[in-house]
Amino acid sequence: MADTAPTARPRSPLEYAADRLAAVTRSSGGVVRLAEVPFLAQVNVRLDAKSPAADAVGLALGLPLPLEPNTVVRAGESTVMWLGPDEWLVVGPPGAQTGLEGRIRAAAGDEHVSVTDVSAQRTTLLVTGPRARDLLAHGCALDLHPSAFGPGRCAQTTLARAHVILVARDESRAGFWILVRSSFAGYLTEWLLDAAVEYG
């Protein structure tokens, strides 16, 4: 979908919960911080990692597609996450989706690639604070210890009962991104708010 200016202000999936998310920072004394990062540009890319398109797309984006499973490559405002052996998610600032989609298609040329704008498919929750890892451990079976899931790691997994893409951000203090399907975002928010009660 083209991101031309609509007549009405866009509404993010968790707009209604912004105040409650912000309240956790206060009630927990800052050990847990929760916020929605809405409207990020998200473009799903599928191509054969061995095809010339992989390098070409990497060049066009200014950052190589990560080939190591469950890792992230970041440059400037763009992040590319490994989702599968032939699947990546390119994340950029709000509004960048059309540009990203066009650049990737152009770079791939005649090679077979699949490029899909999925910016509204998921929204992003930011979980930070010294107890962020403990908070997620209530519902995530992955080992989130920095030695196992440090900066640059990502994973598709289950948090509570929702499928998510979990990203360890650049520094351990920067916490985690949780990308969650928009329809599950309300459930996951209620779950996170309830989990945060323990830290309040």
Partner: protein, 1071 residues
């Protein structure tokens, strides 16, 4: 939970994967060339070997990749994983078993230091002083906090205790021994032990929150506790539990279970290696058996401090490890606030389930002392010897004044000597061994009579023990003596706590010298140390624990250190004697399982009835099935059955240990997954509007969909009739965002969809839409929806709401495992779009007013076409499709703008009386047109032809999934069930969905021939009557026939009709 190694993502929990059946069963090259039998073999026949089996899995919650695994079907061990398309690996060896480690120090009888450790008491001229307020509490000693007295109530009487007490120790301090009555015979029962093994003193907590069936020795005392004794069964609370319960996942290199001497030594060896270590113990403080013997507590404290200071070590107290599953997945429950009584912070969970995944596990779970079966061995005042010693050292409680000690081994002597030093009058030590050795000499020199080769044969007393009868073990009829006592301490040996080892798949073996079942070997990375391993002597226990901890972290690549261990003197040792029963001259009951009231006679009835397996005698008598799971009585039951059968106990074995080790409440297991968090609730971008406008919701999968929107006190029937009328006569709109949407891209996309759908998709023109049906290979309908051609190499597929994920998985499965050469990719875009269905004769006018750039006339924008445009200024894709037979559009926009679109439609449609409608109206409208709903009108046994959709099944395509099955003899039977409509003769009768259909107006004698059943049933506003859809044998050939629908005790006549009841000529579609 298994840990499955995804070839891409590495080890993940089994729950992230879906199973895909046998691997290397390729889809036949040319299904049409196969006979029915060959095709059926492909469809339905799979190997089912015991042992290694190649099978398909998909990492469904991760990278969504399909791969193959070789799994041993008898052990569940995954022997290899490999990528789809790769050859099965040649050899796949199971992982080696962890063999039992020999004790580092020669065997001596002190399990976890509990048994023959040195007695600590010294006989003084004067017995130690006691408290006046708590007559059995010594004035000094113990690990209780005397500065914090606590008040509690038991059976209506108020008592005092101290912080650090258990309910059992506080009751004993106040002279209360009897704390329950037996479940079957109603006999009074006393506190029998000092731990979770307690079979007798199982109590009901009344306040602050009711909780049934807690063993009193495991209940930490708190101020205001109210408890009562139980007649063997508890009472569930009637009101909801207000407490929070939660769960947390944890990972470690080494999990040590039990913080007694072995466990502390193991953790200490690993603590500063850099390895991540978890030490879990069920008591409020580490120390294990040392807390009960009072030995080396300074070492315990120093080690605990070192562990707490180590950065990667976590010490969990009050934490019971209750389940040991595959791949060292270990569950524990931490009791976090119970001991605080009323002072509980509201935001802290009461109990927490720890879901621990450990690379290695050291089980240092100690041992439980066991009893033996003699006459009237259940009276209050009969107690395990080491437990009495624990009450003395840990709680400064002497549980009686005059005692006989009855033993078969050395361990009870230390208890006797310590209790004697504490002022208990030890009348005699009765030892079944003819030559009890050095310990007997020690006791005699302390002035205690030792009766070697004797046994206790009976007891007397009602509410409490008053006497014990003793006789020579071999000739109990002669030489009887009676001792007036209020305490009878018993020790018949020690059972290693091998529950977790056994749960982990470990095998036990019987140790003749020990007289106990001990761990032997295990296929998991588990070691057992200390008493749990049947290891004797505190020095050996400590050394073994340290060695096990060191081996574990070194196996993970860390360097262990030798921990500081206390110097321990070796006590004297005489081998124990194995005694399970003492004959009873009087025929008094000899209890084997105290909690279930099972006696030797009960077991004799079981063996007399021909049962010769402990699994069978357990079920026949219930021995070992109570909440204590036979911790004290289990081995005894096996021993008794072995005696009755005249076989060796080693040949008989033990019943299987199963989780949980101790009872865990459902509330704890449920944790936070209850109420609104019980299952995810999926909502659309328009959910808020629906809520604000009074919609009632229907659950469709995990989605909340508006069901109908009652106005001004309407009931469902009138609301739905109103909504239906608006859609048929004016204009109505519905949130259809929940439909699954999949973006299919690639040069081979059309070819792929031709294989997937029964109809031809490659001939669809860009800009147009086609309805399609998908079948499983067995030819049965799997899903349906529309296919939009966006470009030559790009389609947008919609699925039913509930099947969105399944269809995407289905596509990936075929692409990855059967057709990897097809250049196609599928991406879910379900939530990328919000979809509004705009329905009714006035829908064109409403859309036209909001989409000035869109030519809405029928010739410009025909049925089954789509257009990109703007609606209300919002970028939109508008599709002319109809699920109601009316002129209708589906408007797709970004969900970020969905509410703006919806409100614009509401406003623009107001002059036409636009009406929001829900799923119920949608169902009525589609049923009036005979459109089936997959999953409601189909059930996995219905072909497209059965639905009357032969038109959607291509005859031109060489193949598609399901095609070959449609030619099977069974698929072309004339008496297959067809989808038809039913019109009840009485137009007001609404047939319940599921109603069966019969041919006769009177029910014949059973079996009644059934002709089919009702799948959907509604009231129609348009038809002004009720109607139903039904699957009926040969239904299309019965149109016009009368059938009967039995409802309750009535038979309603119905007439079979074509499923298209409304506008059969399709005149309304174009407005």
């Amino acid at each position: 939970m298994l840990l499955i190694s995804c070839p891409w993502c590495g080890p993940r929990d089994e729950s992230e994967f879906h199973y895909g059946g046998q691997a290397h069963v390729p889809y036949p090259e040319d299904p049409t060339a196969l006979s029915d039998e060959e095709w059926a073999r492909y469809l339905f026949f799979r190997a089912n070997p015991k042992g290694p089996f190649a099978e398909r899995w998909t990492h469904a919650a991760g990278c969504r990749t399909w791969f193959n695994a070789v799994r041993d079907t008898s052990t569940n061990e995954i022997l290899a994983v490999y990528r789809a398309g790769e050859e099965r690996p040649e050899t796949a060896e199971p992982r080696p078993t962890t063999a039992r480690r020999a004790a580092a120090v020669p065997a001596r009888p002190a399990i976890e230091g509990k048994a023959p450790s040195e007695p600590r008491g010294v006989l003084a001229a004067e017995p130690p002083a006691r408290l006046a307020s708590q007559p059995h509490r010594l004035a000094a000693g113990g690990r209780i906090d005397r500065a914090t007295p606590l008040t509690f109530t038991f059976d209506g009487t108020e008592y005092q205790g101290y912080r650090g007490d258990t309910l059992a120790s506080a009751l004993l301090a106040n002279g209360v021994v009897a704390a329950a009555t037996g479940i079957r015979l109603g006999r009074p029962r006393g506190i029998f032990s000092a731990g979770v093994e307690e079979p007798n003193a199982v109590v009901q907590i009344e306040a602050p929150f009711p909780e049934p069936m807690l063993p009193a020795p495991a209940v930490e005392l708190y101020d205001g506790l109210v408890a009562s004794s139980l007649p063997g069964q508890g009472r569930l609370a009637g009101e909801p539990d207000p407490a929070r319960y939660d769960a947390v996942h944890a990972h470690c290199d080494l999990l040590v279970v039990g913080a007694g001497p072995a466990g502390l030594a193991a953790a200490a060896a690993a603590a500063h290696s850099g390895a991540r270590v978890i030490l879990a113990d069920d008591q409020p403080e580490p120390g294990g058996s040392l807390l009960g013997t009072g030995e080396h507590l300074d070492w315990v404290e120093a080690t605990h401090a070192r562990l707490e200071a180590a950065p990667e070590v976590r010490v969990l107290v009050r934490t019971t490890v209750f389940g040991h599953y595959d791949d060292n997945h270990v569950l524990a429950v931490e009791r976090r606030t119970n001991h605080l009584g009323a002072d509980v912070p509201a935001n802290v969970s009461r109990e927490r389930v720890w879901r621990i995944r450990a690379r290695r596990v050291v089980l240092a779970t100690g041992a439980h002392e066991r009893s033996l079966a003699f006459g009237d061995n259940d009276r209050p005042g009969v107690m395990l010897a080491a437990s009495a010693r624990t009450y003395l050292h840990r709680y400064a409680v002497v549980p009686g004044r005059h005692a006989v000690v009855f033993t078969t081994n050395d361990s009870a002597y230390a208890a006797a000597l310590d209790l004697a030093a504490a002022g208990v009058d030890i009348e005699a030590i009765v030892d079944t061994r003819p030559e009890p050795g050095q310990w007997a000499e020690r006791a005699r020199s302390a002035g205690i009579e030792v009766l070697a080769g004797h046994a206790v044969t009976g007891t007397r007393g009602t509410r409490r023990l008053t006497a014990a009868t003793v006789a020579p073990y071999d000739q109990h009829a002669t030489g009887q003596r009676e001792f007036a006592v209020d305490l009878l301490l018993v020790s018949a040996g020690w059972n290693p706590v091998a529950h977790l080892f056994s749960q982990a798949g470990g095998k036990l073996r019987y140790d003749d010298v020990l007289g106990a079942f001990v761990p032997d070997h295990c296929r998991q990375a588990v070691e057992v140390a200390g008493g749990a391993n049947g290891t004797f002597g505190l020095a050996a226990v400590l050394a073994q624990g340290a060695a096990a901890g060191a081996r574990a972290v070194e196996a993970e690549g860390y360097t262990a250190e030798a921990p500081a261990l206390p110097a321990v003197a070796a006590p004297p040792y005489t081998p124990p004697m194995q005694v399970f029963t003492v004959p009873s001259a009087t025929g008094a009951p000899r209890f084997v399982d105290l909690q279930r009231d099972v006696t030797v006679d009960d077991l004799a009835r079981a063996t007399g009835a021909g049962l010769h397996s402990v699994e069978h005698t357990k079920r026949y008598t219930t021995a070992g099935t109570a909440s204590d799971q036979g911790r004290t009585g289990g081995v005894l039951a096996s021993g008794v059955v072995a005696e009755l059968l005249g076989v060796d106990i080693s040949a008989l074995g033990l019943p299987t240990f199963r989780p949980p080790y101790t009872p865990v409440s459902f509330a704890t297991l449920a944790g936070r997954d209850r109420g609104a968090l019980h299952d995810p609730i999926r909502t659309t971008a328009l959910h808020g509007w629906h809520v604000e406008h009074g919609a009632l919701f229907e659950d469709v999968g995990q989605w909340k969909r508006p069901w109908y929107y009652p106005r001004g006190g309407e009931d469902r029937e009138s609301a739905v009739l109103r909504e239906c009328r608006a859609a048929r006569e004016g204009v109505a709109f519905m949130d259809a965002s929940t439909l699954g949407k999949i973006d299919v891209q690639g040069p081979d996309a059309a070819r792929f969809l031709d294989l997937l759908y029964t109809n031809m998709m490659s001939t669809l023109k860009t800009g147009m839409i086609r309805y399609g049906v998908m079948c499983r290979p067995d030819g049965m309908v799997f899903d349906d929806g529309t296919v939009i051609r966006l470009a030559q190499d790009r389609f947008l597929v919609t699925t039913t709401t509930g099947n969105a994920a399944a269809v995407l998985d289905w596509m990936e499965e075929w692409l990855q495992t059967e057709w990897p050469d097809l250049r196609v990719h599928c991406t879910s875009v379900t939530e990328q779009w919000a979809t509004v269905a705009l329905v009714g004769p006035e829908s064109r006018a409403v859309l036209g007013s909001l989409a000035p750039r869109l030519a809405v006339a029928n010739d410009d924008f025909p049925f089954m076409a789509w257009r990109d445009t703007t609606v209300a200024g919002i970028e939109a894709r508008v599709c002319r499709i109809s699920f109601s037979g009316e002129l209708a559009y589906e408007i797709n926009v970004s969900p970020w703008h969905a509410r703006a679109l919806w409100e614009a439609l509401d406003e623009a449609g107001a002059p036409y009386g636009i009406t929001p409608y829900g799923t119920e109206t949608m169902h009525v409208l589609r049923a009036e047109k005979g459109y089936p709903i997959v999953g409601q009108d189909t059930d996995g046994t219905v072909t497209p032809q059965d639905l009357g959709m032969g038109w959607a099944v291509s005859k031109k395509k060489r193949d598609f999934i399901g095609k070959r099955s449609h030619a099977r003899a069974d698929a072309v039977r004339p008496d297959r069930k067809h989808l038809v409509a039913l019109l009840p003769d009485d137009s007001r009768v609404l047939l319940p969905e599921g109603t069966q259909l019969v041919a006769e107006s009177e029910l014949p004698a059973p079996p009644v021939p059934m002709l089919g059943h009702v799948t959907s049933s509604y009231r129609s506003a348009a038809l002004d009557r009720t109607f139903a859809l039904a699957l009926v044998k040969g239904g299309r050939d019965r149109i016009g026939e009368r059938l009967y629908a039995p409802v309750g005790d009535r038979l309603f006549p119905v007439t079979v009709a074509s499923p298209v009841l409304y506008d059969p000529e399709g005149a309304r579609r174009d407005g």
